[in-house]
C-alpha cells in the first residue's frame, strides 16, 4: 500500500463523506461545506494521480488550480445566495438598506393570486 494509493483512497473517502453529509444535513451552509468537501476529495484524487510520475503531471495540477478557482467563485456566490434566501425567510428584505429595495424596477413578481 504505497503513499499515493493511501491518498487516492483518502480522496475517495472525503468525497463520500461530503456526499453523505450533503444527503444527511438540512442546513444550507453545511450542505455547501459538504459540496466543498466533495470538491476537495476529487482534487485530492487528481493530485494523487498526478503524483504517480516524477516530476508530477503538470496538466492535472493545472486542472486542480482551475477547479479551485471554480470552487471559490461558486462557494462565494452560493454563500451570498444562502444568506439572502435566509434573510428573506426571516422576514427582513434581502438587503439591509430599505431605500434601494423600493427603487428596484426589476420585474415585480406577480402578486400572489387573489382570485379563487
Amino acid at each position: 500500500m504505497s503513499g499515493l494509493q493511501l491518498y487516492l483512497i483518502l480522496g475517495a473517502a472525503v468525497f463520500l463523506l461530503g456526499l453523505h453529509g450533503l444527503l444527511m444535513t438540512t442546513d444550507s451552509i453545511r450542505r455547501l461545506i459538504a459540496v466543498n468537501l466533495m470538491g476537495a476529495g476529487i482534487f485530492l484524487i487528481m493530485v494523487a494521480l498526478a503524483g504517480r510520475i516524477s516530476p508530477p503531471d503538470p496538466v492535472l495540477h493545472a486542472l486542480v488550480v482551475t477547479g479551485l478557482v471554480v470552487a471559490i467563485s461558486a462557494t462565494a456566490f452560493a454563500l451570498r445566495l444562502i444568506t439572502a434566501a435566509a434573510r428573506v425567510d426571516s422576514g427582513q428584505s434581502a438587503v439591509p438598506d430599505k431605500a434601494s429595495r423600493l427603487a428596484s424596477k426589476s420585474e415585480s413578481d406577480v402578486a400572489e393570486d387573489s382570485r379563487p
Binding site: 494509493q5 483512497i9 463523506l17 453529509g21 498526478a50 503524483g51 496538466v59 467563485s73 456566490f77 444562502i82
Partner: protein, 325 residues
C-alpha cells in the same frame, strides 16, 4: 514500510477528522471553524504531494478567503434549526451502508492494475504509441514562453480553459450583484467613515498590506519559472484588499465607478482580445507567436491577477452599495 508512511497516515487521519467535524459539529460556527482548519490541512497535503502552487492557492483561497466568507455568512444567518434535521432514523444507517460500499468499491478500483504505483501504467497511455501528455508538455515547454510546466499548461497549452475560468469568476460576481438590485447610492452618502479600528490592528494592517502586495507581485513574476501565477497572486492581493477594507483603510469599492468595472473585466477582455487578434492576424485561435509567447503570457497574467484580485475582494466583502448597479 509504515514508517515513512507515518506523516501521510497522520495527515489523512487529521483530514478525515476535520471533514467529519466540518459536517457534524454541534453548532454551525464550530463547523465553519473546522472547515477552515480542513482547508489548511488540505494545503499541507498538497505540499506533501509535491504540488507547491496548489498549496499556495489552497492556503490563500481555500483557507483564507473562504474563511472570511463563512464568518460573514455566520454573522448574518439566523440560528440553525438542527444539525441533521428531521431525516428518518433508518436514513442515516442505510446511507452509512451506501457510503461503506462505495468506499470498498473505490478502494478496489484504485488498487487495480490500471492505477499501478509505478508511474502511469505504461500500456494505458502508450496504447496509441504516442508519448504521454506529461512527456508532450516537457517536450513543448521550450517554445511555450515559460519554463514552469504548470503555468505553461494553464496559460498556453490549455489557455482556453483559463479564459473560460475568468468568465466563471465574472459570472459569480454578476450573480452576487443580482442579490443587490436597486439604484446606486450617491457616493457622498457614507464617505469612508474614519477608520475607528484599534491602533494595533491599524498599524499591523499598514505593515502587512505592502508586504502582501510585494509577495503577490513576486508570485506573479515567479509564475513563469516556478510555482506561482495569476490565481495565487490574485488571491493574495484580494486578501490584502479584504484586510484593508475590513479595517476601514480602503474606501468601499463602488461598482458604479468605471475604473473598478474596467479592472474587473480587464483579464477576460485582454485574454479574449489576444485570442481574437491571434485568430485574425496570427495563425489561429490562441496560437501565440513563439517569440512573443513569454511577453504575451506575462501581460495576460498581469491583467488576470488584477481582475481576479478585484473580483475576489468584491465577492468577499462587497457591501450592498458597492455591488448595486
Amino acid at each position: 514500510m509504515t514508517l515513512e508512511l507515518m506523516p501521510d497516515i497522520v495527515l489523512g487521519a487529521l483530514l478525515l477528522l476535520m471533514a467529519w467535524g466540518a459536517l457534524y459539529a454541534p453548532t454551525r460556527y464550530d463547523a465553519m471553524a473546522l472547515f477552515v482548519a480542513f482547508g489548511v490541512v488540505v494545503a499541507l497535503i498538497w505540499a506533501r504531494l509535491g504540488a507547491p502552487d496548489l498549496a499556495l492557492a489552497e492556503a490563500a483561497i481555500g483557507a483564507g478567503l473562504t474563511g472570511v466568507l463563512l464568518m460573514q455568512a455566520a454573522r448574518q444567518l439566523p440560528a440553525e434549526a438542527s444539525v441533521t434535521g428531521k431525516r428518518m432514523p433508518w436514513f442515516g444507517s442505510s446511507l452509512l451502508f451506501l457510503v461503506l460500499t462505495c468506499a470498498m468499491f473505490a478502494a478496489h478500483i484504485l488498487t487495480d492494475s490500471s492505477f499501478k504505483q509505478a508511474g502511469i501504467d505504461a500500456s494505458a497511455t502508450r496504447l496509441l504509441g504516442g508519448p504521454t501528455v506529461p512527456e508532450m508538455v516537457t517536450a513543448a515547454l521550450p517554445n511555450s514562453g515559460v519554463s514552469y510546466p504548470v503555468t505553461a499548461v494553464l496559460l498556453n497549452f490549455r489557455a482556453w480553459d483559463t479564459l473560460l475560468e475568468l468568465l466563471v469568476l465574472l459570472l459569480a460576481l454578476t450573480g452576487v450583484r443580482q442579490l443587490y438590485p436597486g439604484t446606486p447610492q450617491h457616493p457622498r452618502a457614507n464617505t469612508a467613515s474614519p477608520p475607528q479600528a484599534w491602533p494595533v490592528l491599524l498599524s499591523w494592517a499598514r505593515f502587512l498590506a505592502p508586504l502582501l502586495v510585494l509577495l503577490g507581485g513576486f508570485l506573479l513574476w515567479r509564475g513563469a519559472s516556478g510555482p506561482g501565477g495569476a490565481f495565487q497572486a490574485g488571491a493574495l492581493l484580494a486578501s490584502a484588499a479584504v484586510m484593508l477594507r475590513l479595517t476601514g483603510l480602503l474606501p468601499p469599492l463602488r461598482w458604479s465607478s468605471f475604473l473598478l468595472r474596467l479592472a474587473v473585466i480587464l483579464g477576460a477582455l485582454l485574454f479574449l482580445g489576444v485570442a481574437l487578434a491571434s485568430l485574425a492576424f496570427g495563425d489561429g485561435w490562441l496560437v501565440y507567436p513563439t517569440q512573443w509567447a513569454g511577453a504575451l503570457i506575462i501581460l495576460i497574467e498581469l491583467a488576470a491577477t488584477l481582475s481576479i484580485a478585484v473580483t475576489l475582494s468584491l465577492l468577499v466583502i462587497g457591501e450592498s452599495e458597492d455591488l448595486s448597479s
